[in-house]
């Protein structure tokens, strides 16, 4: 039995011994270092780049600008609009201009300082409201990246019939991933001219395609290998160092290392989108939700990245985990001259959860209903219909999650400056209304082991371990029978990105499929009749080395482009958090004391790993709610951008609900993002309970909380915007 067991992480041993060779630890004979020079302007025309002095510095091998790129100078997951190296314009503070390649990192950095750039500044657009109306355009097609909508029923009519209507505006700020390991990668050409990149990444097969376009080489001439990856959280989904390392290796013919400093990481990396969310929610006297109207406006920064995904996910999840019969959501993303915003743990839903959970509490307050009760009344359950018209027929453990925290909620005691709040969420596992398959395969190795070829990237969340557990359970074999061969585009199939909490569910199911085929084969060959695995393996080479492949693409349908109706996800995770805070009346410092976190994960393949995700999510949620705010050109490193330390952590009680998902491997869904999503919302509701102050802007750091308390403006809602 492996499923449901706390199998030790397959990589824990090398990591505690300090032997994990992260990309930045790699060395090669004749290795050069490359450094990326970035703009210190928000929006400008480039008049000239003078690199003569830098180039004549001893030890500098080469300096690259956009004209040296052999292929396409543009990347992006949905739209190839982001240049590797600026061509005529810079559109954000931090836009890459040139790559300096030298014998040492120090020489490269010193030479970079000698490059003189002459700019002609242009008017910067630093917020999406300006971008919406300005005659200045950042891209040829205008400043609107996308508009997504979800329409169901008749909200106007429902509003007329509602007993109470609450309308408020909420906003959030940019958040940096702050994975502990900054982006790093090593690229080298081999004698046949193939380019290999070993990097810190969340998706090898996607990067292979991008590097192939960049170098104008066929995909099979590019090999991407994932190094142990020191955290991702969405920030290593877009191309980071891979393009520069590959380009430099290709042009110099030597191995090239690119590793970012924390400053470079923060300057270049995508951020969590700031969203402005105007919510109007109605309820009947009995607490039943009648309608929801939401207008969401996002600042996607200078390039598209995952902006459209965030806009869509925010729209689809705008109601939260509740039955709302009438829905009208419009979600728009605008280009600005701010840092590129992309994927970050939750894809827009940590933001909307803050809005819908605050609305639930406001409705409860207005109707004199207990906050937990109003959530129970409206909870999605078996047979419920979501805002996109999807009927949930299985694995809807939200009500059970609420029941898990109910005893703690009922026993809560106000003892002074403490307060309690709830935060809930649902989260669609996998990509939204588009195919997002995973594939994997198994081989029989002559030494008598199963070769487990896995293209999914373990970024710290533990997918290697969990997927190995699924395989072992399916095969019914011992742990040492399997050899994990992972993270190499040469030897594995595309398992999609490690994003959208999808690896356990989607790749896990593909692993189950492959494992089932192999199990039948082994049984046919007599594994249960005394024949050894080694014997079967060595005989298999005579049969041409059979391959057992697994594939899974969750059943979804595309969403109607106008109404947003359809089946965007095959399954959803659900969660309810209850948080206790203490707010110091004099300093307005908020401390999170205790969190009860209940999650419906379908099936916990590895309960300790699930708990680890929840604890990490709680920490990140505390940062999101109380401290993290990335200010372009001012947030430069960890001295001006704070994340939670051990001193900020509450004690956390976890509750695992296992409402099995029939299409998942052994019933499993996902937990990576759900762990974080409800946390910020529950803190904000707890602050309200503790102080009587409701914040409408995140992060609600002590400065903001001080201002709110001084104004004694308990229902401050910022300015109502018209998008």
């Amino acid at each position: 039995m492996f499923v449901g067991e706390n199998l030790e992480r397959v990589d824990a041993l090398e990591k505690v011994m300090g032997k994990g060779m992260f990309a930045g630890d790699l060395r090669m004979e004749g290795m050069l270092f490359a450094v990326v020079l970035r703009s210190d302007r928000f929006h400008a025309r480039i008049i000239s780049i003078d690199a003569d002095d830098a180039l004549s510095t001893e030890g500098v091998a080469r300096i690259i600008t956009h004209s040296d790129i052999p292929g396409a100078n543009g990347y992006g997951v949905l739209k190839k609009d982001q240049p590797y190296l600026a061509e005529g314009y810079v559109r954000f503070f931090g836009e890459p201009l040139a790559v300096i390649i030298a014998e040492s990192e120090r020489i490269a950095r010193e030479a970079a300082l000698k490059i003189r750039i002459i700019y002609e500044d242009m008017e910067p657009l630093n917020d999406p409201f300006m971008a919406a109306v300005s005659t200045v355009t950042i891209h040829k097609g205008g400043n609107l990246l996308c508009r997504k909508s979800v329409f169901k029923g008749d909200t106007k009519k429902a509003a007329a019939d509602s007993s109470v209507i609450i309308e408020r505006t909420y906003s959030t700020r940019r958040v940096d991933h702050v994975f502990l390991e900054c982006e790093a990668g090593l690229a080298f050409p081999d004698t046949s001219g193939r380019i290999t990149v070993i990097s810190s990444t969340q998706n090898i097969h996607y990067k292979q395609k991008e590097v192939s376009r960049l170098l104008s080489l066929p995909e099979e001439r590019i090999r991407i290998i994932q190094a142990p990856t020191g955290g991702g959280f969405g920030g290593k989904l877009d191309v980071t160092v891979e393009g520069y390392a590959a380009l430099a290796a290709y042009l110099t013919g030597r191995p090239v290392m690119v590793r970012y400093t924390r400053e470079e990481s923060m300057l270049s990396n995508t951020k969590r989108h700031p969203l402005y969310m105007n919510y109007r929610t109605g309820a009947a006297k009995d607490g039943r939700l009648t309608f929801l109207e939401a207008k969401i406006i996002g600042d996607t920064g200078a390039y598209a990245s995952y902006g459209a995904v965030v806009a869509l996910r925010a729209a689809v999840h705008a109601t939260g985990p509740y039955q709302v019969p009438n829905v009208e959501v419009e979600s728009s993303m605008y280009f600005t001259n701010n840092p590129v915003c992309g994927a970050m743990r939750g894809f827009g839903i940590p933001q909307t959860a803050f809005a819908h959970e605050s609305q639930m509490d406001l409705l409860a307050e207005a109707l004199c209903i207990d906050p937990l009760e109003i959530r129970k009344i409206n909870a999605l359950r078996k047979g419920s219909e979501t805002a996109t018209g999807q009927v949930l027929n299985h694995s809807v453990g939200f009500y059970d999650a609420l029941k898990c925290i109910e005893p703690a909620w009922k026993e809560r005691k106000k003892t002074g400056n403490n307060g309690f709040g709830l935060g809930c969420m649902f989260y669609g596992i996998g990509n939204t209304g588009v195919p997002n398959p995973s594939a994997c395969h198994l081989t029989l190795m002559p030494e008598g082991k199963i070769g487990f070829h896995l293209g999914a990237c373990d970024i710290g969340q533990g997918s290697d371990t969990v997927l190995t557990q699924i395989l072992l359970e399916t095969l019914g074999l011992e742990k040492n029978c399997v050899l994990l061969l992972k993270g190499d585009s040469d030897t594995t199939r595309d398992a999609g990105s490690s994003s959208a909490s999808r690896q356990t569910y989607i790749t896990g199911k593909a692993v189950f499929e492959a494992g089932s085929k192999l199990r039948s084969y082994l049984e046919e060959k007599g594994i249960n009749k005394g024949r050894s695995l080694k014997d079967i393996c060595s005989a298999a080479s005579g049969e041409g080395g059979p391959i057992f492949d697994g594939f899974f693409d969750p059943p979804t349908t595309p969403l109607d482009p106008v109404t947003g109706q359809g089946i965007p996800y095959a399954t959803y995770a659900f969660a309810a958090h209850m948080t206790e805070v203490e707010v110091d009346a004099a300093t307005c410092v908020c401390r999170v004391k205790k969190v009860h976190a209940a999650h419906d994960v379908g099936r916990a393949i590895n309960p300790d790993a699930v708990r680890g995700q929840i604890f990490g999510g709680v920490a990140m949620g505390i940062g999101f709610a109380l401290m993290e705010e990335f200010i372009p050109s001012r947030s430069k490193s960890l001295y001006s951008y704070y994340i939670p330390t051990s001193m900020d952590m509450p004690s956390v009680e976890t509750y695992l609900v296992e409402d099995e998902e029939p299409t998942g491997p052994y019933g499993a869904k996902g937990v990576g993002e759900p762990a974080l999503i409800p946390q910020g919302a529950s803190i904000m509701n707890a602050i309200r309970d503790a102080t009587g102050i409701r914040g409408f802007e995140l992060p609600c750091n002590f400065e903001r909380l001080c201002v709110l308390s001084e104004n004694n403006d308990c229902n401050y809602s910022g300015s109502k915007f018209k998008g």
């Binding site: 505690v16 390991e181 142990p228 001295y639």
Partner: protein, 152 residues
């Protein structure tokens, strides 16, 4: 350039260094002690924590010359004898490792704490690792691991 000699992970060692070399650079580049990680370079994240005369320091903020004549220990020291240190074992068992990038520095801070205090309270453990950032684990299982190791 100058020459320093130090006791490194229990053995005598010497290095030629620049005046401006940090201990982080010297440990990584000259001694290939790659457990010493750089996470910020400015003494905020603690990924490069090593012990200098048994006290935890940020190697990125420590000039290598300061290590002259001193005892320096890195995470490689813990399993130097060929078997895992109880702290390392506890980290594996408690699920205290996720991405693993903060782990070596975290281990050294915990090691220093347990050297000084055999049975630390929860608050002491919390404070003991407060100079080390972790973005994955929320610290909970790390603190559990340190407690487990203290009880051994």
């Amino acid at each position: 350039m100058r020459r320093i000699s130090l006791q490194l992970n229990g053995e005598k060692a010497e290095a030629e260094i620049e005046d401006y070399s940090t201990l982080l650079e010297v440990l990584r580049e000259q001694f290939s002690l790659l457990s010493v990680k750089e996470g910020c370079g400015i003494g905020e994240c603690g990924a490069c924590t090593v012990l200098l005369n048994e006290r935890p320091v940020y190697a990125c903020l420590t000039l290598a010359v300061k290590a002259d004549g001193c005892d320096v220990k890195t995470a490689e020291y813990l399993s130097g004898a060929g078997s895992l240190h109880p702290l390392q074992e506890a980290f594996v068992k408690a699920g205290a490792v996720q991405c693993g990038y903060c782990t070596p520095g975290m281990l050294m801070s915990a090691y220093a704490l347990l050297k000084e205090e055999k049975t630390p309270t929860d608050e002491m453990i919390r404070e003991g690792i407060s100079g080390n950032l972790c973005r994955c684990t929320g610290y909970v299982q790390i603190m559990e691991a340190v407690k487990d190791a203290a009880e051994i």
